[in-house]
């Protein structure tokens, strides 16, 4: 679906189910936020499932990504503010599900605008996200090497072998193609925004909404230990560790992530 935020078109996958149907008018609004250089399709294993399980799900393309109008927004703080305006445009507090850069955005949005954010689920996240200088250089130059580096690092070591949960698909090949499709001049600033964001622990400290964190044991981009300061700052958060996941659990263990999302939303509804 397409809608407007700041007079610019935002594109979102809704699992081919309208969020405006009368029968789901009171269902939770779930907004899924992708990571740097990616788009809505990283949530393809969750969006349509959520849409058919009593939620109004939107996997959005961030400004300047996928089918959303640009320009891209270049800081986590501004992206969080945009997310709050998006929640307002959708007409209600939203549950945010964020991956990597999207997790930072969700965290900051929930801390800065608690009235707009009902809960957050974070994955592929640490207290900080330093970016390898070679990756930043390649991304700044729109060099396809950046996509190849990210596709190699973002999945667990087993994905070098494959065996994708989606039959016949190459996970690293698909991730690489998604990042390669990122418009020129977007991936570099995305990564720079991740590297520059230093507010994760502060945001976590002031969060008041329910939080679930999904950790991939094999995450090489935001290693398990990098998340510990966040966990310490959110003692009431629900922590789920997925032993076979790297940095992208929604792709690597999609069923487990669906269960976590279902449990998270179910606890709030109870």
């Amino acid at each position: 679906m397409k809608f407007q935020v700041d007079d610019l078109t935002v594109n979102a996958a809704t699992g081919a189910v309208s969020i405006e149907r009368d029968e789901v008018a009171d269902a939770p609004l779930v907004v899924l936020l992708h990571g740097a250089g990616m788009d809505r399709t990283v949530w393809s294993q969750q969006t349509r499932w959520l849409a058919h399980h009593d939620t109004r799900a939107l996997a959005v393309d961030l400004p300047g990504h996928g089918g959303s109008e640009g320009p891209a927004i270049t800081s986590i703080g501004e992206l969080a503010a945009w997310t709050a305006r998006l929640a307002e445009a959708l007409g209600g507090p939203v549950h945010l599900v964020g991956h990597s850069m999207g997790a930072f955005i969700a965290l900051e949005a929930a801390a800065a605008t608690p009235d707009r954010i009902a809960s957050v689920v974070l994955m592929g996240v640490g207290a900080a996200m330093p970016v390898h200088p070679d990756l930043q250089t390649a991304a700044d130059a729109d060099d396809p090497l950046a996509a190849a580096l990210m596709a190699g690092w973002m999945h667990g070591p087993d994905q070098r072998f494959g065996l994708n949960p989606t039959p016949g698909m190459s996970m690293t090949g698909t991730s690489r193609a998604v990042i390669e499709a990122c418009p020129p001049g977007v991936l570099g600033p995305d990564l720079a925004a991740c590297a520059a964001y230093g507010g994760a622990v502060d945001a976590a400290t002031v969060l008041t909404c329910p939080v679930t964190i999904i950790l991939g044991t094999l995450d090489r981009m935001t290693p398990r230990k990098a998340a510990q300061p966040l966990l310490d700052a959110m003692p009431s958060a629900t922590i789920v560790e997925l032993p076979d996941s790297g940095h992208a659990p929604m792709m690597e263990e999609p069923g487990a992530v669906r269960r976590v999302l279902g449990d998270h939303l179910g606890r709030l509804a109870a």
């Binding site: 809505r40 499932w49 494959g162 989606t166």
Partner: protein
């Protein structure tokens, strides 16, 4: 500069798409010889049927053994995914049927496998899809044949049987300039010799029966999705970019992005047309893919020995292989195919049709049959077999003379191959 963290080609030929079975420890890929898969619950079943979640439900749509082969070849080609089919022709049909509809038009190389030519020239028009055939050596000819209703450009990376070398990047530029995808059949090359997606192709089709399988024991095909073409850019490809009632209004580009083509090909194409690969065949073909790098290197090495022998033989009127300096694409092949331009060649036997027949009858080691890409050396006379449905005019346009013999060089000792061919050539002149 740091390098991407991924296994290299030869390693992926052995491992991509598979990990040792976690339950049994099986190192080899198990053959999942089952039609169907048990659902965890009604919700699980519903989710699978509705494309909410992925997994196996029925072996016409997907199967774990077949999925390993699909992922492995997709990895070797650098694509986002693959859909295996019952044959190479089923793969070609699946690609066409996924993208095209009545009223659409294809621009295709005229130098392609006879079965593919029949499909485009004779069969598809019954369903409202027409084709204009052009010289694959002339990218401008592709451009000039494109019409408003054109939706696909198609060629073979190495043509059949003249081994015309496609300048993939040049033809891809023409296609992309018109907002069209380039599909290539790369059966003769295999990803060991060229990876067309790296040169701009959007879809790669293989008869896995041939060099990928390599042993002549199983028929199969695959459509590899490059994942780089923007199907939603201008509304030309409604099967991918508009809501589909078959899955309650799903739009494949919207939900699956770069995987749109492969998802639709599987969800609709295998569901409705049913041209699936059997798990047993996938297992056989996987055995071949595991040794693809070492086999193709030897195929090419033997081919060069055979070309040397033919080049000096009095009974041979001409040789067509890009490694031979007389081939029009000799220089292009050196640039695009540093490991060699395959193991299929054609040559003319002095004396025309009769001499050609005598040659075929006289070979002993080489097998006379309608296939290529076996571990064993194969010969055939295309004018009377694979291309016999083509008119004399089309045959001439495709460069197929009555004297033409096609040779698929195998893995035997190259001296034995050369001895056999040389002896049969002498017999052809008696």
């Amino acid at each position: 500069m740091i390098e991407p963290d991924s296994h290299r080609f030869d390693t992926r030929a052995l491992h991509a798409g598979q990990r040792p079975d976690p339950v049994t420890g099986s190192r080899a890929v198990p053959i999942h010889q089952t039609t169907s898969f048990v659902f965890d619950s009604v919700d699980h079943a519903s989710g699978l049927f509705n494309l909410e979640i992925s997994g196996h439900l029925y072996s016409r749509i997907s199967n774990p053994t077949v999925a390993v082969l699909e992922e492995r070849i997709a990895s070797l080609e650098g694509g986002v995914g693959g859909v295996c089919t019952s044959s190479g022709q089923a793969a070609f049909h699946l690609a066409l049927a996924t993208i095209l509809g009545a009223g659409d038009h294809v621009v295709a190389s005229r130098n392609i496998y006879g079965g593919s030519h029949n499909m485009l020239n004779l069969t598809m028009p019954r369903f409202g899809i027409t084709t204009t055939f052009v010289d694959p050596r002339d990218p401008q000819a592709f451009a000039e044949a494109i019409r408003p209703e054109t939706r696909l450009v198609f060629a073979e990376t190495l043509g059949n049987p003249g081994i015309e070398v496609l300048d993939i990047a040049a033809v891809a530029d023409v296609a992309h300039g018109a907002g069209l995808p380039l599909a290539v059949d790369s059966t003769f090359a295999t990803p060991y010799l060229i990876r067309p997606i790296e040169h701009g192709a959007d879809i790669v089709i293989h008869s896995v029966t041939k060099f990928l399988g390599g042993h002549g024991v199983a028929i199969g095909g695959i459509v590899v999705d490059g994942g780089r073409f923007d199907w939603a850019a201008d509304g030309k490809f409604p099967t991918l970019s508009e809501p589909y009632d078959g899955y309650h209004g799903i739009t494949f580009t919207e939900e699956f992005g770069p995987a749109a083509l492969s998802m639709r090909a599987r969800a609709e194409g295998l569901r409705d047309f049913g041209g699936c690969m059997s798990p047993a065949n996938a297992f056989y073909l996987l055995q071949g893919v595991e040794t693809l790098p070492v086999r193709m290197a030897r195929h090419v090495e033997n081919t060069l020995r055979v070309i040397d022998m033919l080049d000096g033989h009095d009974a041979v009127s001409w040789i067509s292989h890009p490694a031979h300096p007389s081939h029009p694409d000799h220089d292009l092949a050196k640039r695009l195919y540093p490991k060699g331009a395959g193991a299929i060649l054609s040559f003319g036997v002095h004396g025309g049709r009769d001499a050609g027949r005598k040659f075929i009858e006289a070979v002993d080691l080489a097998s006379h049959l309608a296939n290529v890409g076996d571990a064993k050396t194969l010969v055939i006379h295309p004018g009377s077999t694979t291309h016999q449905q083509m008119s004399a005019e089309d045959l001439a346009a495709a460069g197929i003379g009555e004297e033409l013999v096609r040779l698929s060089v195998g893995l035997e000792d190259p001296d034995d191959i050369c001895d056999d061919l040389s002896r049969a050539l002498r017999a052809s002149q008696r």
